[in-house]
């Protein structure tokens, strides 16, 4: 089931020796069910049809797209530049991505799309947007979620259960920024619901880690950024043990990842709330080369010394009611309320 597609971008690159300090924003945003209004054959998108449970009409879809673009645009306005790389999750298909990059608020970013139709039953995928003049795409790959071989004990699962288990693939994208080789992973690991799911997120992290270590061997010095809705906190075992996420830069060895949102979680930052308690499931990690290497390096962007940012504005947040202070969602208790997402976006900045 592995597929490997290589695309060599042949655009004329002017990789001049550039003395200026360049800064690039790399981030992730869970778009919370960005569905179009059409039925995709074979996908369980029935909730998101005009006559479906959510009465997902063109008007709602248009508002949703406008809202998503508003958030991306607001980040641009804060940062003075668009994200160079923006990983997204919970998108139905290529069509909604095309519509989003064409939203007037962000059309001038000229975002290009990397996306694979994934196997998730509910039909939501991950994808990656990149700014073509800053990031030169070399290859991409959709890594399926497999159980074996793993250091995790899945003996409680029958082979049939493993074969029938479907979740989202992990997106791998390789290319260059400023002539430096980068690889990105965009993941949306299995949710916390369900009894047997506890080992699935560690397994997802393990898949990414094993793949990344091979990529590091193959392309020495490559800079790797892992991002996604991990459905776990940076402090959970999936991120600390299986992805080797380290809280402090000094502890990051060449086989570790730096996990800047771990300190932020401890400090009380949150990208989403569950039963009133804050979490950061929208996690970005970088490999050794982005903290102890040459050239582009992760940069502190918070006055308190943190390397990550959870982006939120009052208008992205419920201002009253039972869910006051939590992200303003598209639906609340099944009713359309016209908000944004249940997650806030997170990002890091790399610069030299």
């Amino acid at each position: 089931m592995k597929r490997f597609i290589t695309l060599i971008a042949l655009a004329v690159l002017t990789i001049g020796a550039c003395a200026q300090k360049r800064s690039y924003v790399i981030g992730f945003y869970n778009l919370e069910n960005l569905f179009d209004t059409y039925h995709d054959e074979g996908k369980n998108d029935y909730q998101y049809l005009p006559d479906g449970q959510n009465n997902w009409t063109e008007a709602k879809y248009a508002q949703k797209q406008k809202n998503m673009a508003r958030v991306i645009r607001a980040m641009r306005d804060d940062n003075g530049r668009y994200h160079t790389i923006l990983g997204v999750s919970e998108i139905e298909n290529r069509h909604v991505l095309e519509d989003l990059v064409n939203e007037p608020a962000i059309a001038d970013a000229n975002y290009q799309i990397v996306h694979y139709d994934g196997p998730d039953r509910r039909g939501v995928d991950v994808a990656l947007f990149y700014k073509p003049e800053q990031f030169k795409l070399i290859e991409s790959q959709s890594i399926p979620f497999t159980f074996l071989p793993s250091s995790i004990d899945f003996s409680a699962w029958t082979k049939e259960e493993m074969d029938h288990f479907k979740t989202r693939d992990i997106l791998f994208v390789r290319g260059t920024i400023d002539g430096e080789m980068f690889a990105f992973y965009v993941a949306h690991l299995p949710s916390r619901l369900g009894g047997k799911g506890a080992d699935l997120r560690p397994r997802g992290a393990e898949i990414i880690y094993d793949h990344a270590m091979k990529v590091q061997q193959q392309y020495p010095g490559i800079k790797i950024v892992v991002m996604g809705d991990m459905n776990d906190n940076p402090s959970d075992v999936s991120m600390t043990k299986y992805l080797h996420g380290r809280e402090f830069i000094k502890d990051v060895t060449p086989t570790d990842f730096y996990s800047p949102f771990l300190s932020m979680l401890k400090a009380g930052y949150s990208s989403l709330y569950y039963r009133g308690e804050g979490n950061i499931y929208d996690i970005i990690l970088t490999n050794h080369a982005l903290v102890h290497g040459e050239g582009l390096q992760i940069k502190k962007i918070n006055k308190k010394g943190y390397y990550g940012r959870v982006f939120k504005k009052d208008w992205m947040t419920n201002q009253s009611g039972q869910y006051k202070g939590t992200p303003f969602r598209t639906f609340s208790g099944g009713a359309y309320v016209g908000g944004y997402s249940d997650h806030y976006p997170t990002y890091i900045v790399v610069s030299k």
Binding site: K21, G42, R94, V114
Partner: protein, 1180 residues
């Protein structure tokens, strides 16, 4: 009497329902399960035996054998593990043995749990199947027409012959309470039933076939098709834009689609120019499988391309066009479908080359970065409130000892606390749990965005249509402490595409309870709301609701009565009428609330809300009234043994014989039920003999209904403004006009023809002066005699209470890094007056028309500061000062009779501070609070019969000061076992009186002031016989409240259990016993013994309680939700817990020694013993 033990033996029959072959396979798990009842729906029929035991109180056990009973049911498995069924069970005529000819029919609703699916999966492989179920059991007695409600459960076993047919055996037990109407006898009976029969399983038609299933069917047929027809030459991966297309099997075919083979699948789309929004003609679209290029197609003039005949698989499309940035699209063709990619946009290369390289700009972080602060939702996770609000309610716990009316309650921005008493308005919407579910609360004197709030928390209810949870919800609730049955249905549309939202909620609460006889509900409730969003900025809403209905009330008695009856739940309000229970004290309410809201949101930073609200309707409370007749209450003190004999000779109660007779009666209430309960038959008999000489019956006993009918018009408007990133401002205005009519009517003449509208008490003093007796002097002048009132006529008194209230408030919330704070203030005015509608004979010049106005300037200030330490901890402090006007009911000496106002009324001044520490992270939630509050200038008005003056008197007390201080700890701590947490509360308070109030007493009939502005000497404390000062406490709540428990939570299951201890609870004091008049006695000498006896305050014993609850909900296809919760309170069945009571305002003054007075016994209320509540709900 009723009920029976029925037993019957059976055969079996079967019922069939229509069937269809299609299997509901949307649920894969179920499809994998051949059994049980694999097809979802099922229906069964059988016959069985039903036995029952009669638990009727005070009745001899009865049993009977019935005719063969039947068992019919139909239901649906909603998941493989859980189903719901409805049936009719146990129709059988009783009467074969020892019964009285009643029949009984029950219609259980069963929530079924499939054992093989849930507990023992290995059983799945067998044709045997087992289900456990929990039932809600409505029951009817036929032909008598009584109805009842109960709970039960059982087990069904079945054996499947094939997919459709199974034989079953079913056994159930139920406990069914009687007296759902409050008129019939109390009691419970238990039944057990077994039945055997046949069951047919089926699914409901083709409609169950989802598109997904259709897709699978299509796929299955596709798999029969041949493999890929032609070899595809291996090609290099597409190298990029500049490369020309590598030829595939199919040559580029401009303007048309390409067909690869004989497959139904394919890919199509339109290539557009992202910048110009125009079609791209001549773009090459290459189809790759892996590195292999399969085909190339060129777009036509409209940019269309189409690749057909593509087998299922994953592909890449590489789209190239001159002067465009190349694009790659990864597409999966599945299930033989033509994949429509819609528009695929290409960016012109030039646009990309010309893009500003913003990455060259210096990142604007001169201050080294963003100054974001963590947002921890400490405020919305008040662990103390969540652990105490439900669990402590049964012991009437009041946080920090504050009176319940100090909790401010808003509805859509309008403060709804009763204009006349300040009481919480919750009864206006009880039973409308769904319609008014959306709410927001703060505790203590925290700042509130919907109004100024107070010092004891504030809650805003919304009620607008779009706030009602979307979908149709139905629930059935039964409980054993209040009422048997609650049925509720609600619907919320959510906001529709056209901007409208609408919602409704209806409910019925019916029946009695296990503990207090005569208490019952017959209450209904409705709620309707519509809302319309006009454009992006305006929303208009209209809401109306009411809870029409009635419920029987409970009365407190002395411990002597409870002990004699052997029942601390004895209720003296009811008695038998023609053998049936009738309660004399019934609350009847119908108070519709209607309001109109307008919301205006001109920008993200500004919101304006306005509400116009009107409350109207009727609120009645019945009671017995009598004229020239004896007190009919069974527990009247002259009916008790203690009235006849007391060991202390000073009482002069020396008739042990009579005391023994009385004791005989009270200890044999089954035999002497007409003496130990209200004797309605006697009241009718007395009235029937009360011929007035003109052949008409002048009732001596009537049932009156005291009305408090409000008209309450409110306006509130508020603005919310995010002024600065670190400052939010709220402010508003409110105005209230309340006119409430107090009057009473005849609810029942009890067999008589009329009652006379005169003042009984006045008649005692002024029998000769006819004018003085009149309640309505104008009527007397016009007709020459007092009105002979009939059912529904007003009598007694009739006046308006008028209240006007208006105010302005504002607050600001400030945030700066880890520090946040807020300040708020309110300034208002309140005026109230009495407006008499009748000229009272005793006070012709001071009863009709308007009284003086009691006017007050009200207001307050609040301030709060909070500092977060890391992301887990915060320290915060609140400060508040409030001046609240006395209520109407505290302002008039005797509003029933005249316009006289209480002297020396002042606003109540409350000062409150608290300091808090909270830790909230990772499942831990711990909050520690210390608080200190003082209240000054409280007042109290009461009327009572004064034994010392032998007169009905009015008594007012002013200048009551209180001090409330204490600590609160609440915690939830995760335990090492997954999903298990330890939680608990420790609240210790010290709520005392700190002043010596002043009192004034007036004789009601003459307005003679007998005590003027004298101290209530022993109100705050007294000196005991040892010379020690004993403080007096604020009553009404335990001052020590603790709990410790476990909470487990997983997969929508929850199980909670806790043990609680309460202590330091005190009996409410009557001021009379704290006066020197009472302690001095008739001899004019006050001994230390008299002071200690008369002035001391009773402290209730502490007690333990054990509670547990369990619940679960299931989401089904993301669409349905089914769930239940079962809570059991007071598992130790402690029936000795006093929750409150009062001291009687009477003195034993006819003592032998003429040296001292004695108290009357106090009256008490007790908490229910073991009780449960089961709620089953379903959301469509």
């Amino acid at each position: 009497m009723l009920k029976k033990l029925t037993s019957s033996l059976l055969l079996f029959a079967c019922a069939c329902v229509y069937a269809s072959a299609a299997e509901d396979s949307t649920d894969k798990l179920r499809a994998a399960d051949p059994l049980p009842f694999s097809q979802g729906w099922f229906a069964g029929a059988g016959l069985g035996a039903n036995i029952g035991a009669d638990g009727l109180k005070g009745d001899n056990p009865e049993f009977s054998i019935g005719l063969p009973g039947m068992h019919l049911y139909a239901g649906k498995w909603i998941t493989p593990a859980f189903g719901l069924r409805f049936g009719i069970q146990g129709l059988h005529a009783a009467g074969f043995y020892g019964a009285d000819g009643y029949e009984f029919l029950a219609a259980p609703v069963d929530l079924m749990v499939n054992i093989p699916s849930l507990l023992i999966p290995s059983l799945k492989k067998t044709p045997f199947d087992f289900s456990l179920y929990l039932s809600a059991v409505p029951a009817w007695g036929l032909p008598s027409g009584y109805y009842a409600f109960g709970v039960g459960g059982g087990l069904q076993a079945s054996y499947s012959f094939n997919d459709n047919w199974a034989a079953f055996a079913d056994a159930r037990g139920s406990i069914i309470g009687q007296n759902i109407t409050g008129i019939l006898n109390q009691g419970i009976f238990a039944t057990a039933a077994v039945s055997v029969g046949a069951q047919y399983s089926f699914s409901l038609g083709k409609k169950a076939l989802t598109p997904e299933v259709a897709a699978q069917d299509a796929k299955a047929s596709e798999q029969a098709a041949p493999e890929i027809p032609q070899e595809v030459p291996a090609g290099e991966p597409a190298p990029g834009i500049a490369e020309t297309a590598v030829s595939g099997i199919n040559e580029p075919a401009p303007g048309s689609g390409v067909v690869l083979g004989e497959y139904t699948g394919g890919v199509k789309g339109v290539i557009v120019n992202r910048t110009a929004k125009s079609a791209v003609e001549g773009a090459r679209v290459k189809l790759y499988s892996g590195a292999s290029e399969l085909a190339t197609v060129v777009t036509d003039a409209e940019g269309n391309f189409s690749l057909q005949g593509v087998p299922d698989g994953m592909y890449s499309l590489v789209i190239e066009a001159p002067e465009f940035y190349a694009n790659q699209v990864n597409v999966t063709v599945n299930d033989g479908y033509m994949k429509n990619m819609f528009k695929l946009s290409l960016t012109p290369s030039q646009v990309i080359e010309n893009a500003d390289d913003a990455s060259l700009q210096e990142f604007d972080m001169d201050d080294s970065g963003y100054n974001d602060s963590p947002t921890v939702l400490f405020g919305s996770n008040d662990i103390f409130a969540s652990l105490t609000s439900f669990n402590f309610s049964s012991v009437r716990y009041r946080q920090r000892g504050y009176a319940s009316e100090s909790q401010t309650v808003y509805l859509a921005g309008v403060k709804m606390n009763d204009a006349l008493t300040g009481y919480g308005p919750f009864s206006l919407w009880s039973g409308l749990n769904e319609g008014l579910r959306a709410k927001e609360s703060v505790s203590g004197s925290d700042i509130f965005q919907y109004g100024f709030g107070g010092y004891n928390g504030a809650t805003q209810f919304f009620g607008n249509a779009s706030s009602v949870r979307k979908g149709l919800r139905a629930s059935v609730l039964t409980n054993s402490a209040l009422y048997r049955l609650r049925l509720m249905l609600s619907y919320g549309s959510g906001q529709l595409d056209n901007g409208w939202s609408y919602a409704f909620n209806v409910s019925a609460r019916m029946g009695g309870n296990d503990w207090v006889d005569g208490v019952y509900y017959r209450s209904f409730a409705y709620f309707g709301a519509v809302e319309k969003k006009l454009g992006d900025k305006h929303t208009l809403g209209l809401v109306t609701f009411a809870t029409p209905g009635q419920r029987g009330a409970q009365n407190g008695s002395t411990q002597e009565v409870y002990d004699l009856m052997g029942d601390n739940m004895y209720n003296s309000n009811w008695g038998y009428q023609n053998g049936k229970v009738r309660n004399s004290r019934v609350r009847k309410t119908f108070e519709p609330v209607t309001y109109l809201t307008w919301k205006f949101v001109p920008s993200d930073d500004l919101e304006v809300n306005a509400t116009l609200l009107w409350r109207t309707g009727k609120n009645g409370y019945t009671a017995l009234d009598w004229y020239d007749a004896s007190d009919p209450r069974p527990d009247y003190y002259r009916n008790l043994p203690s009235y006849f004999f007391n060991e202390n000779p000073d009482y002069n109660r020396l008739n042990p014989q009579k005391a023994a007779w009385a004791r005989e009666v009270w200890t044999h209430s089954g035999t002497y039920r007409d003496l130990t309960h209200l004797n309605w038959d006697r009241l009718y008999t007395v009235n029937s003999l009360s011929d007035d000489g003109n052949g008409r019956l002048r009732s001596k006993y009537v049932q009156e209904e005291r009305h408090i009918d409000q008209n309450d018009l409110n306006f509130a408007a508020r603005v919310k403004w995010n002024a600065l990133p670190w400052m939010k401002v709220n402010g508003g205005v409110n105005a209230r006009i309340n006119r409430t009519e107090y009057y009473k009517t005849i609810a029942d003449l009890l067999g008589g023809d009329y009652f006379v509208n005169i003042d009984n008490f006045a008649e005692r003093d002024f029998a000769v002066n006819q004018e003085a007796l009149q309640n309505d002097l104008d009527y007397y002048y016009a007709h020459g005699s007092a009105q002979k009132v009939k059912k529904g006529d007003k009598y007694g008194y009739d006046y308006y209470a008028q209240v006007r209230d208006a105010g302005l408030w504002a607050n600001a919330e400030l945030t700066r890094g880890n520090l946040s704070g807020n300040i708020g203030a309110r300034l208002g005015t309140q005026a109230s007056w009495r407006d008499g509608l009748w000229k009272k004979g005793l006070f012709p010049d001071n009863s009709k028309g308007k009284s003086d106005k009691a006017s007050f300037v009200t207001g307050g200030v609040k301030a709060n500061a909070s500092y977060s330490i890391g992301g887990k901890m915060r320290v915060f402090a609140n400060f508040g000062w409030f001046a609240d006007a006395p209520t109407f009911t505290q302002s008039f000496v005797s509003p029933r009779t005249r316009n006289t106002m209480v002297d020396g009324l002042k606003t109540v001044k409350t000062l409150t501070t608290d300091l808090n520490w909270q830790y909230f992270s990772n499942g831990y939630n711990v909050k520690l609070t210390g608080f200190f509050s003082t209240m000054k200038d409280g007042s109290k008005v009461m009327s009572f019969y004064d034994d010392l003056q032998n007169a009905f008197t009015n008594f007012s007390m002013t200048g009551i000061d209180q001090r409330h201080m204490g600590v609160e700890l609440a915690f939830r701590v995760p335990l090492p076992i997954a999903n298990l947490a330890l939680q608990g509360v420790f609240a210790y308070g010290n709520y005392i009186y700190t002043s010596t109030p002043r009192m004034t007493q007036t004789v009601d009939n003459s307005e003679t002031v007998t005590i003027k502005d004298e101290p209530v000497t022993y109100w705050k404390s007294h000196t005991d016989v040892d010379g020690k000062t004993v403080k007096h406490f604020v009553a009404g709540t335990p001052q020590l409240a603790t709990s410790l428990g476990l909470s487990w939570n997983k997969n929508y299951w929850f199980v909670d259990a806790d043990v609680e201890y309460f202590g330091n609870s005190y009996l409410d004091m009557n001021p009379l016993y704290r006066t020197r008049y009472a302690t001095t006695g008739p001899d004019g000498y006050e001994s230390p013994l008299e002071v200690d006896y008369m002035a001391s305050q009773e402290k209730f014993p502490g007690f333990f309680l054990l509670n547990a609850s369990v619940g679960k909900s299931w989401y089904i296809h993301y669409k349905y939700q089914l769930g239940f919760s079962l809570s059991a309170k007071n598992l130790l069945n402690n029936t000795e817990v006093r929750t409150g009571g009062y001291e009687q305002t009477r003195l034993v003054d006819n003592t032998v020694g003429k040296e001292r007075y004695y108290r009357f016994d106090s009256k008490y209320f007790y908490m229910s013993g073991f009780n449960y509540m089961l709620n089953i709900y379903f959301r469509f």
